[in-house]
Subunit: 341 residues, 2 copies
DNA sequence: TACGTGCAGGAAAACAGTTTCCGAAGGTGG
DNA sequence: CCACCTTCGGAAACTGTTTTCCTGCACGTA
């Protein structure tokens, strides 16, 4: 095994016949050096395969060019587009990211916070799975923290999250615009803020249009296909003339569509169905493919990372909650209604 | 903003009335110190909220306690259980993980490799999305690298991957044991090794049992529900008496199940269906819930990380491919066959 | 010839720890 | 009473890099 020691500035200096300080200057385009000297140093560095030790650099500069993402939701699918957005913003700056999964365990979170403290990360993104208020991350004062989806209980903290009310409005307007008027809503647990906000957005639009919810209530339940199937039965029982269902997730929507098919109801011919999440494999694999509200998690991640970078750069970022607008992914499940079924 | 400087050993030393060397010894249980002195230092450190700068520690020790995971498959779902396994193994050792997404771009990969080189990570896990042979990661000699799923073209490298042949065998045996004999196979693209191996496992068991593939061929196609739907039609057309379908993914299986239902064929009553991946929301949300082969990605991640830790610790790890056995997640789609349909 | 001036590059001090070596007490035995 | 050993803790070197200061040296001018 060629266990040769990795070369340092000293090795480069020796090979180029200069001092270490000169090597640093040459490699970083600093100071006053003859072009010939600079070239000689660069050549020596290349020949040795020299890579500056970033630990030493960070120790000296106080910047590590690392950011951590602390998440409770790795397993879940939400983390993926989010991370993509984060990397979009961070990658440009040569910032590396530590991924820390707390598995919803406060002890693990604390443990990670300590470690990150010691590693002197430049900033931290705390990503929750749900919209809720949480205690601020216990971390050394001075390290910028941005909260994502779940917000900090400290109003001075900056938080970026999805616009669920807006998503509900978007879905509602779209259904109305497609000529639907008897709209039902099947969604997740009432104890979570996300489904409540989506429902609020929907109801607001319905109110404005002088309409009311098909079935007379929001069907709160679970985030599962099975709940979608069961709730669809309930909804159709309560309001057989329903002509659209807004679902709180694509999974629920899949279940709803299945029940509708079992009942020989056509989608979108008889009933339009709209989902939430734009979880590609779920929504696109559905028959018919699902129109769905995309909460724009990638953008959420991008905004979070960008603002974090601002804070790291010392720009003042005022606290508060920044919401990223959702958008509508149009597919077939809300297509044109058949006039004569 | 309370921008107070973060405390260093020097601050702790001053407060405890000792020298910096003593602080280090006290905090790390090294050297010969009176218990009283040690306690005094520990108290001072706690009062100041002292956290040792791990950059300085690493610079000195040569170990960073960081590992990087370079992946082409973040967006995909495979990364999640894999990362879970990696963290299982790494977490115990206080090792932090850098997550690098190459997005399948060799330039990005190279760029990441350079950065990791400079960060002096202790080791690297290179995770591919598919079983294939790839060029070794271009990284400074000496840094241990473990390959996951995709293997290195250098036989001296260590690689851990899934057992797709074994998975196919598992599925086939299970179907046979449930009394099925006319088994079809619908799967992903033929150009990938994974689906070919799964098919090989299946065929091997069928051969041994003196059976042949329903429909006379493997139905290679795409990793989509839609392909599952279409291929199921083709299969039933070619072999109407098919009594089981082994699918190369849970998505395909969902499509197959849908076509079967459209055709009024009961699952598992008339036809058993078995998937691959054990992608929970897909498989469990299916009606009936899908029996499926779990490729054990979490275990793959664990093994990879554990061996990497071994390599970092200096233990010789011999190159070659280590495969992790798959297991069967039993749900309802392969339940007992109805004798009289 | 003496004296600024400016350029090129070296020496050394940071950064924040750990570790090795060494010396000063204090106690013990001859 | 003195030599010696142990115990405790300090001083300094070291990790690899950047940065500040400083010193030669060549050059131009008086």
């Amino acid at each position: 095994m060629s266990q040769q020691r990795v070369p340092t500035v000293r090795d480069v200096a020796a090979r180029a016949g200069v001092s270490v300080g000169t090597v640093s200057k040459a490699l970083n385009n600093r100071g006053q050096l003859r072009e010939e000297t600079r070239a000689r140093v660069v050549a020596a560095a290349r020949e040795l395969g020299f890579r500056p030790n970033s630990l030493a650099q960070s120790l000296q500069s106080g910047r590590t060019y690392t950011v951590a993402v602390i998440t409770t939701d790795r397993f879940g699918r939400f983390g993926n587009p989010l991370m993509l957005g984060v990397e979009d913003a961070l990658g440009a700056d040569r910032v590396s990211v530590f991924l820390c999964d707390t598995r919803d365990d406060p002890i693990r979170e604390h443990h990670h916070a300590e470690t990150l403290d010691e590693r002197r990360v430049d900033g931290i993104i705390v990503a929750g799975r749900r919209k809720q208020t949480r205690a601020p991350l216990a971390v050394a004062s001075g390290v910028p923290v941005v909260y994502v989806i779940a917000q900090s209980s400290d109003p001075a903290d900056f938080c970026v999250t999805t616009d669920d009310i807006g998503g509900g409005i978007l879905a509602a307007r779209h259904l109305l615009a497609s000529g639907r008027t008897r709209i039902g809503h099947i969604t997740g647990p009432e104890r979570f803020a996300d489904p409540r906000e989506r429902a609020a957005g929907l109801c607001q639009v319905l109110d404005d249009a002088g309409l009311s919810l098909a079935g007379g209530q929001v069907f709160y339940g679970e985030w599962s296909e099975d709940w979608g199937r069961r709730a669809a039965e309930m909804l159709l029982h309560a309001a057989p003339d329903t002509d659209a269902v807004f679902c709180g997730s694509d999974q629920i929507a899949r279940g709803v569509v299945e029940t509708l098919r079992d009942r020989r109801l056509r989608v979108p011919g008889d009933i339009a169905v709209i989902g939430f999440d734009n979880w590609e494999p779920m929504a696109a694999g559905c028959r018919p493919p699902l129109t769905t509200v995309d909460p724009n998690l990638r953008e959420v991640g991008q905004v979070a990372a960008t603002r974090l970078l601002d804070m790291i750069a010392g720009q003042p970022v005022e606290g508060g909650v920044h919401t990223v607008p959702a958008w509508l992914m149009l597919r077939e499940s809300t297509g044109v209604r058949l006039i004569e079924p």
